[in-house]
């Protein structure tokens, strides 16, 4: 599962893109939990998760081939 990391989250995860071993299919909420296990510094950090470039809520399902992105609060402009 390809995971893109942006903004201040790159300070925690240390890279802009990485591949996470995935169970075949999971919910966004499970991904959040797994990320927190791997990176405890994510605790309390606000971020949205996009699946294939669309915002996904916690109940959305993710497949191994999806493009996942971790999006902290936007600060463009």
């Amino acid at each position: 599962m390809k995971i893109l990391v942006f903004g201040q989250l790159t300070d925690i995860i240390g890279q802009h893109e990485y591949v996470m071993e995935s169970i075949d299919e999971m919910k966004v909420s499970s991904l959040r939990q797994q990320l927190l296990n791997n990176y405890p510094a994510l605790l309390g950090k606000k971020y949205l998760i996009a699946v294939n470039k669309k915002m996904a809520d916690d109940n959305a399902k993710i497949e191994a081939t999806d493009e996942i992105a971790l999006l902290p609060p936007f600060s463009g402009g």
Binding site: F6, G7, Q8, A50, K53, A69, F74, S75, G76, G77
Partner: protein, 147 residues
């Protein structure tokens, strides 16, 4: 009317003032236009806890940002009678005093151009997956927060 497609809005580094002048000049041939509204974002040399911002480094989830910008553009064209709308956002480092955002709307009458420009700026700030990293003179940084 031909179908509109996502356009690239990203430019490397600052938006040059001369580019803005040229963009304005190009609209002289569209004589249905009565008013243009332009918003420009400029990088402030803020001082934060004694440290001075010397520039902002912008990164974006480009594909998603362009798709979102396309939606914003479609919404705004559906809502306001615009003749045209142009958006440019910087990527990479933009130094203090330089322009990082250029939003340009035109219409037969001023109200549509002004309201569309303001709405576009607000939506860009709230909805585009773009991040600014405020770079301090002291070789340090902090992540920008939009208000």
């Amino acid at each position: 009317m031909s179908e509109r497609k996502p356009k690239n809005i990203f430019v490397q580094g600052a938006v040059a003032p001369a580019f803005i002048g040229d963009s304005i000049a190009k609209h002289a041939t569209n004589t249905k236009i009565g008013g243009h509204s332009i918003f420009l974002g400029q990088v402030r040399a803020d001082e934060i806890e004694g440290k001075k911002v010397t520039g902002i480094e912008y990164t974006a989830y480009e594909d998603m940002a362009l798709q979102k910008m396309f939606e914003i553009r479609e919404d705004i064209f559906a809502k306001y009678p615009l003749t045209c709308m142009h958006v440019y956002h910087s990527l990479g480092v933009v130094a203090e005093g330089e322009i990082c955002l250029f939003v340009f709307t035109s219409s037969a009458h001023r109200k549509a151009a002004i309201d569309a420009c303001t709405e576009c700026v607000e939506r860009i700030k709230a909805e585009l997956p773009v991040w600014g990293k405020e770079i301090f003179a002291e070789n340090d940084y902090q992540w920008k927060v939009n208000s």
